[in-house]
Structures are given as C-alpha cells and as structure tokens.
Point group: C2
Chain length 288, copies 2
C-alpha cells in the first residue's frame, strides 16, 4: 500500500523521506526512511541498510553518515525498521533483544509470532516492491545490502538466500552464526521453533556452505575488537562465517577487518561507512 510522507528533509544536497505504510507482511504500520541523492539519473542504485537490535529507522539515519557517501557516489539508501511495532502480542515488549526492535529478518512460523513477525518477506519482497512504485527513479534491479549486528546478520542472510538479487553485501559486526549464539537461540527458538533445520535456512554460516549461484562478490565485514558482544559474549563470531566461506570455496571471499579498539556503536559504523559505501558503489557500477 502507498506511503504516507511524514517528513521530507534536505540533507547532503539530496532528500531524506520519513515514510510509513500499512504492511501486508506484518499486518502493522511500518516506518521506513529513504534517502534520495541529488542525482539526475532515472536509474539510481539502492543500498538497503538493516539496523540492529532496538533500532528504529532513525538511528542509522541520524548517526551512520551513510548519506554523505550516498551523495558522493550517487546511490539511494533505504533504512527499514527492525520489527513490527504494536502487534499486541503478549511478551512482545518485555525484552530489549527479542520482539519489538528484534524481528531478526525472518518469517516466523510459530503460531504466536507468525501473523506479524515476517520481516524477511517484508524487507526482501514487499518493501522493495512498494518503494519501487513510490520512487520511480530508483532502480530496484540494481541494489545492495548492508547492516549492523542483527542487521548484519539480516544482510548476509538475505544476500545468500536470494542468489543474484543483490549486487553486493557488507556487514558491521554481524551475528554471523546465530544458530550457535544466545541471541540467535532466543530469537530463532521463539520465531522458528525448536527444529534447527528451520534455523539453518537463515543462518549465514549454513547458507554460504550451500551457496551455488555464480554471483559471488567479495563480502566486506568490519568488526570492532573492543566490542563486548564480540570479544566477551561471542554473539557475533564472524570468524566462523569466514571459515565456512573458505571451506565452501566462495569465490569472492570474505574480507574481514577486525578494527583495533572499536566498539559496537554508531561511532564504529560511521567510521567504516566510507569503506562500505565504496565497496557497494563498485558493484553498483558507480564511481566517485
């Protein structure tokens, strides 16, 4: 369904739109931010940025500084929300790392969550289709994926389970093997049930092991060494994903940069946004 424009804001010589629409995937109203660079092209490439736990579309919009590089290279940005909001499911708002703000970019299959928690279909199908109608100058056939933490998982998972759909993928501190970390166990268990075969269909480390499509661009990952979720809690585990890619013979390879002293915050994301923007610009056919 069509979008309501809640705000149209000038930034970096382009336009930032704060939108909302009624989603058929989640049966709720969903917010999304879109940045359109000051390009005269009628086929503007698109980078979809998936945010992490607790975030709305506004966090990355305000703090990632991807817009600066979107203007520099000439791609649009899409910042989806991280879950349905106000679905009125018992327990939905009880945890910061599950339910609201933690949709985990999967289609839930358990009875309690399956009506609304369908962020996989929402992000990779419904939202892109609807946005292509709203923004005819954006080229949703020339599109890439990035994201942070849970959104880094969402980016890797979405790229690998939609072979050929996304030109490139990158991630900041992604939850790389959710089937074996507390966040993944909590969310996959609730949304997908206890059968781990269902989890593996979304787990990047399992997906890359079975990835056969010829489109194998380099996967760029940054990880802060001082990120407690990485160094202490083992929620992220990018090395396991790198090993799986190697073992599978993934042609583009995974370029993992462990950045000394960086944490899990937007100060980390904004620092490396430039490298990620450059990475995607190359695959989207853009130059400075």
């Amino acid at each position: 369904m069509s979008f309501t424009i809640n705000a149209e804001i000038s930034q970096f010589h382009g336009k930032l739109y704060k939108l909302s629409h009624e989603s058929t995937s989640t049966k709720t109203k969903m917010d999304v931010n879109v940045f359109v660079p000051p390009s005269k092209s009628t086929k503007i490439p698109v980078l979809v940025y998936l945010s992490g736990l607790t975030c709305t579309p506004n966090n990355a919009t305000e703090k990632s500084f991807f817009q600066y590089f979107a203007t520099k290279y000439g791609f649009a940005l899409v910042f989806p929300d991280t879950s349905p909001r106000g679905a009125n499911i018992e327990g939905e708002d009880d945890s910061w790392d599950f339910g609201s703000g933690a949709g985990f970019y999967v289609d839930a299959t358990t009875e309690k969550w399956s009506k609304n928690y369908n962020m996989y279909s929402y992000v990779h199908k419904e939202l892109l289709t609807e946005l292509s109608k709203q923004f005819p100058t954006l080229d949703f056939e020339n599109i890439s994926l990035s994201g942070h933490s849970m959104g880094g998982f969402g980016a890797l998972s979405g790229f690998l389970s939609n072979p050929g759909k996304y030109k490139s993928v990158s991630a900041f501190a992604p939850i790389s093997n959710p089937s074996t970390c507390p966040w993944g166990e909590k969310n996959f268990g609730n949304y997908l049930g206890e059968d781990k075969a269902a989890w593996y269909k979304y787990d990047p480390t399992h997906l890359i092991a079975d990835y056969k499509h010829e489109h194998q661009p380099t996967i760029l990952i940054h990880q802060g060494s001082a990120d407690g979720f990485y160094a202490k809690d083992h929620q992220l585990q990018p090395e396991i994903f790198v090993d799986a890619a190697k073992k599978a013979g993934y042609k583009g390879g995974v370029e993992l940069h462990v950045a000394e002293g960086y944490d899990h915050s937007y100060f980390f994301i904004s620092t490396f946004a430039e490298e990620h923007a450059k990475h995607h610009a190359k695959y989207l056919g853009l130059s400075e």
Copy 2:
C-alpha cells in the same frame, strides 16, 4: 579541576573522550566531549563547537559529522555543554528555551542566576585552560569557534568579545541579534536584567559595530531557508548581522549562505559541516 574520563571511544581513527569535571565557574559538574584526531602533531589545533538550545555535548558528537572532517584536516574538537545542570534554581527546568540547556554563553548578573549561569567564563576561560592541562598535544593558542543556533550566537559573540583569541569563527543558523528576538529577550532579561546596555556586550550585531581589532577573518554563516525559527519566528536574523558588519567595514566580511530547503536540524548541520571544517582548517594553518 581535573577531568573524569567517562568514556574513551574510537571513531574516525581518532579518540572521542566523554569527560566531566567540577567547574569553578558554574559550581556544578560539567560534561564535555573532546575528539582528538589521529595526528602525530604535538600542536593540534582546536575547534570549539557550541551547541544550541536543549543540547548536551552528545547531540553534536553523535549527529554533526564534524569528527570525519577533524580527522581529514587534523584538528581536535571540543563540544561543551549548553548550561549548568542541576544547579537547583527554582524554574531552571521549566522551559525548554531557558535555564537548563539554555545557558546562552553569558555570565549572569542577576542575583538568582549569577552563582551558576556563567557559561561565558566557563567556555572561553576555565574550560580551555583545564583542557590544555588534560591534553598537552592540543594547541589552545591555535583555536577557532563554531556553533549552532544559541551556540552560533555563542560563537559569534565569543569571537568578537575576545579579539584575537580565536583564529576564525563560523555559525549555523545563529541567533544573530538576540537583543531584538524573543529568545534573546527572555534569556538576556533573566540572566542580565533589564538594562539593555548589558545585553549589547554579548550581542554580535552590536559587538561587530564596535569591533576594532586588526584580526578580521571572514565569518562563515549557513542558514536554512526552511528553518521555521528563521523564516517564521525571526529568532535568527543573520541579515541584520551581515548589515552591521558591512556598516562597520569589517574587513573579512560575512559570508552568509541561505541554503534552500534546509531546516534547523542536525541534518542541516551535517550537510554544511564540511564547508565549515574547510573554512576553519584554512585559518588554523591546516590543509587536507
């Protein structure tokens, strides 16, 4: 007094410090953020950025994007708070545009406010002196000023009332003639009393009329045309300041850019941070 380091965060290959200290000017604990770029210099120039109404040091730190350019050019950033906090003065927290978050960078003279609301002395004297002890590689003799809205006023006012102290000054949507706008009347009236002669000592439009010092760098100002405080409420009035500078024969001139369609937000600030950074870098003796 010496600083407590509440956080040390890696960003843009430099370090962001979230500090607090007991201020003798305000008789309260004050927060301040400092960004040190990845420079090997032992004389790193400094840009002090004064924030607007309601802000803490964190808003600009998270949303202005100045750190990216501080790293590019090699200057440090200082983000002071906008008022004392918790001074326990009756009415201090009643208005969003007066009291807490609205110290207006003056030294209050009225009985009620004069004990704590001394942001002029705090910013231009105490804070810089204390920071120079904490950060021996920063050169507080090579320093510039910028700011937004109330902080844009604070930058222009502080530059003009400290001739020769700051190498350059710039402002985003500054309150340029506070003696003749509602925000200025409310705050100056409360902090300085009803005698307008006391107001004029801080008012940039009056200060530039009397400015005689030979140091007259170009003053850079950006103003968004869609900023309601500018277009509707006449709180900002940069044209009056430009006229006063012309009439006074200020040699460097005032470069006022009215940016079509931009509002009063950090989306506006982040867009033009690059031009302001470049402006200051030139006067601070830095190149890319």
